[in-house]
Structures are given as C-alpha cells and as structure tokens.
C-alpha cells in the first residue's frame, strides 16, 4: 500500500488543536497549512506501563516542530511512533490515531518498511555504519533500488554541508570523522533516500557548540524541502530553529508509582516562549523548573 498525500482540508481552529486552552485565532495560515501528521489521543506504553498519554496535535508541512520538556516525558517515545520505530521494541504498544497525510500510520495494510522510506530519522548519538563515507550514504539508495548513486551521494553531502570537507576522502572510514561531521553524515544519509519528513531525536546533544550551530543552520535550510520534527533538551535551540513547539511534562499518579508524559501546550514557538498560556510552560521555559 502506498501512502500518497491527500489535498489539505481546512478545518476550524478548534478542531485542529485540542489543548487545554485554545489559542486565539492568529494569522490564519500558520494553522491551516498542509498537515503532515495528525495525532489524535495518542498513548504509548511499554510492557503495560504508560510512557505518554493522550497526545493530540498536528504537525505541518515544511516546518520545524520542536518537542521539549523534562526528562522522561515521552518526547523520544512520541517521536519514534511517527516512523514506527517503536515496532522494534517488543513490549511497546501504541494507541490512538496517527494519520500521515490522512492515512492511518498503524493501519493493518501499512508496511513499516515503506513508512520509514518516507519518514527518516536521525538519532541522538551519531551512528555511522562501519563502512566508508561513500558507502554510508550510498547504502540507502542501494537497498531501495534507486539509480544515479554517485549523484545522490554528492547531492546529499552538499545538502548536509559536508561535501567540501569530505569530497577528497569519500573512501575513508566514516569513523575517522569528528562527532559533528558524523552527525551531518547521518543527516546526509537520511536525505539520500528522499524522505518527506526527517525526525531528529536530540541530534546535537552529543556535539560541541560549533557543530551544533552548523546543524541548526542546516535545519533552517532543510525545512524548505522537508518537514522536520525535533526533540530537544535545549530550549534555546527550540527557540532558535523551530516554528512550532510542543511542551510535555511528566505526570505522576496519586501513588507516585507511575509516571507518564502529557502534552501541556502546543503553539507557535514565539508564543510558547514569550507568552505561554500554561503556568507550567512558563516555569519551564523561563528556567524555574526542569
């Protein structure tokens, strides 16, 4: 089954976002653009224990959407639902609805392998393959049966701002690169298979500030072609690069034995950081807690 994008449908603001406080209607096109993902009451649990509950939000095309929040609030778990990487964890179960261009991502006829061709992921710790730089980038196109491998490698490396640094040593081992270069290699690797969405799970947390800056600049360029969802611990980073920000917290039940993540606020980044609606959001972004 192939997932093809359906034409966008305008919906009323109240139907699009269900958070505790509805945002006042702002310049309309920010919330009426093409949607890539629609999450409706999504909950994920590992072995029966809930990790995140009741997330409802939409992710829009050609934007950078940031997920922020304290540790353990389920940001990475939620991110991994979007490309069905949680399928690899035997004890994980996903409830609720995740629509990708109107199609249920977890539908019976949907093949997770096809999903991952269109929704790529960059991980927290750079994970280049134990191969040469060229073979790292070429691996994706090769297994997907794409042609013009040389061109794709060059385009991907240029797109990840790595081409000038490595064009003379494409056959070198990828492990010989610095951490920042390795992470850009992983981004280039994801780009080489032409996905529509790139998910990034704390891509800069293992890197130095200069590499981080380069990757943040990259994200601003990349969003013209891709839709990006990024999980980050770094609030300043979320404020710098993202268009919309979702803030999650950790909820405890009455016995304090169970903890799970909850979506508190989801709005344009400017509003979340300068004029948040929920006091908990304000405490977090101003650094009082978390």
């Amino acid at each position: 089954m192939t997932l093809t994008p359906e034409p966008s449908r305008e919906k009323g603001l109240s139907q699009q976002i269900a958070v505790k406080n509805e945002p006042a209607p702002s310049d309309g096109d920010v919330w009426t653009k093409d949607k890539v993902f629609e999450l409706k009451d999504v909950s994920v649990s590992y072995g029966g224990k809930a990790a995140v509950k009741g997330v409802t939000m939409d992710i829009f095309r050609n934007e950078v959407t940031a997920l922020i929040g304290p540790s353990g609030c389920g940001k990475s778990t939620l991110l991994r639902c979007l490309n069905r990487m949680n399928d690899l964890v035997a004890s994980a179960s996903v409830e609720g609805e995740i629509n990708y261009h109107g199609n249920d991502l977890y539908g019976a006829k949907v093949d997770p392998v096809q999903v991952r061709k269109m929704i790529g992921m960059v991980f927290q710790k750079p994970n280049p393959f134990p191969k040469s730089i060229y073979d790292n980038i070429a691996f994706g196109p090769r297994v997907l049966g794409l042609k013009d491998i040389d061109e794709r490698v060059e385009t991907a490396l240029k797109g990840a701002a790595l081409w000038d640094e490595v064009k003379d040593r494409l056959k070198d081992n990828a492990y010989g690169m610095s951490g920042g270069q390795q992470q850009r290699l992983c981004i280039a690797r994801t780009m080489a298979v032409d996905p529509e969405v790139i998910l990034m799970d704390e891509p800069c947390s293992a890197l130095d500030p200069i590499s981080t800056g380069k990757i943040e600049d990259l994200m601003t360029e990349l969003k013209e072609k891709y839709s990006i969802v990024i999980v980050t611990h770094n609030m300043q980073q979320a404020a710098r690069v993202s268009d919309k920000t979702a803030f999650l917290i950790v909820e405890l039940d009455s016995t304090e034995n169970n903890r799970w993540g909850q979506l508190i606020e989801y709005d344009e980044t400017d509003k979340v950081f300068t004029n948040p609606k929920d006091s908990r959001t304000e405490d977090y972004v101003t650094g009082k807690v978390g």
């Binding site: 035997a90 392998v113 991952r116 991980f123 997907l144 992983c186």
Partner: protein, 313 residues
Amino acid sequence: MNRMKTPGSERTRLATAGARAVTTTSLSKQPAKDRIKGNIFMALLLLAVTIALIGLTALVVQAIIEGGPRFNLELFTNPPSSLNVEDAGFRPALIGTLYLILGVVLLIVPLGVGSAVYLEEYADGNRWWNKMIELNIQNLAGVPSIIYGILGLAFIVRGPLDLGFILAAGSLTLALLVLPVVILAAREALRAVPPSVREGSLALGATEWQTIRKQVLPAAIPGIATGVILAISRAIGETAPLLLVGATTFVTFNPTFFGENFSALPVLIFQYASRPQEEFKVLAAAGVIVMLIVLLAMNSFAVWLRNRYEQQW
C-alpha cells in the same frame, strides 16, 4: 626573577616551595605497600603465562625431538606401509584429512551462520523453546567426541542416511561435532554488532533481511571466521569419532570423497604408534610433526583470509 623583599612575599615563597616539595614527593612515589602488591600480582600473572607456554612448548619440542630424525618431505608423498618402515609415509591420511576438513567447512559455514542468524535476529528470545535451544547448544559443545562417533554410526553410516562407511560420512560426523562451536562464536559476533547500526539501517527503510545481510553480517565476519578456525582446529585432531565411522583400515591408496576406504592423519599416527617395532613409534612422532605443520598451514591461511576481509568495509 625580581622579588620584593617584604616579609609577606618571603613567607609566600617559602610556602610555595614547601607545597611544591610535598606535591613532588606524593606524585613520584607510591606508598610501598601498594607498589609491592602490584609487583606480586604481576609476577603471578607472568607465572601463569609461563606455565601455559611451557606446557605447550614442551609438547611441541618433544614431538620434534622424537620425530625429527625421521622427518623428511617424503612423509607427505609416500604411501604408508606396515612392512617397509623406511619408505612409509602419510599421503593417503593427509589427503583424507584435507577432504574431511573441506567437507566440514562446507557444512558448518552455512549451517552454523544460518542457525546463529536465526537464533539471534529472528527468534523471540523469551519463548521457552528458544531458551532450551540456547541451553542445548552450549551443552552440545561439550559432549565427548566418541558420542558423536556413535551418533554417526547409528544415523549417518547406517540408519536413516545409510551412507555406509565413506569419507563423506566422516565429514558429516565431524561437522556435527564442531557445529555448536561455530554457532556460539557466530552468535557472539552478531551480538557484538551495536544495535545503533541496525537502527540506523532500519530507519532508512531497509528490511530486516537487508539489514542483516548488508550491515550486520559483514561487521560480524571476523568473529565468525574465528569460530570457524577454532572448529577446524578441533576437527583436525579428532580420532575417536572417525574410528567409529570407518577410518579403521590401513589405507595405502588415496581416498575419494564418497569412497569407502579412507583414513585421517590422527588415525594413521595412532596405527603406527600401535605397532611393536621401535621405528614405527619414531614414525608416529614424525607424523605428529606433519600434523602440526598441516594445522599451522590451515590456520595461517584462515587467519590471513580473515584479516583480508577485516580491512574492507
């Protein structure tokens, strides 16, 4: 260096010199107790290595001393003889061993690697039958080789397979004997490949099989090759199972893979050593040297092959 001669600076200078002296002392000398303990520990470790090496070296040196006078290159080319001890050689046994090992390798590589891939990548480790399989493979690796000989006699030579007392049956028996070693080594090699490599591959839209074949297996090849080398080294020297599946006759002509009369180096060495004449015992010792050379040659080739693959990604 300019110093103002004020009382304050003088005190500072003395204090700094004192601090430096104390630091130098504490950096340069370990407390005597710790140093002695460290040295004793190292001496004990060195002793362990020396004992192990002495045992090994004594074995090899003994074989060379006893068999050396008799050793010549004709041992590799002459057929054996129970009468003419001067011209006797090991040729058919040598060829028999080589054929046997060839058969073993052809069997254990696909079966062993395939089993390890299935058990490691596809099987659900929590199911009880998979846990039993894991336990049993480890047990099988320790079963005495004579029992594999009986297995071969009952099921391969006679029984369901009914191959008869042919070299291929010996190969099959030896393969079963060393298969657990290969499976265990291959599993360890597969486990050593970091999960991040698999995740990265799957996140690009590769299937599980593509991930295994193009990422995990190539990265695991050195470990798998080590397992195969260990298996071959064990199989070369096994005598008991071969005696049970038909390597008993005194063979003087070259064996064939599916032929009946075959022999192997350890068997022939044993046969020579069983003879009453003293010259045959010396011949047997020379045979040990022959076997060590064959073992060394095979292992070196396998290690060279492994190193060659290790450098290509």
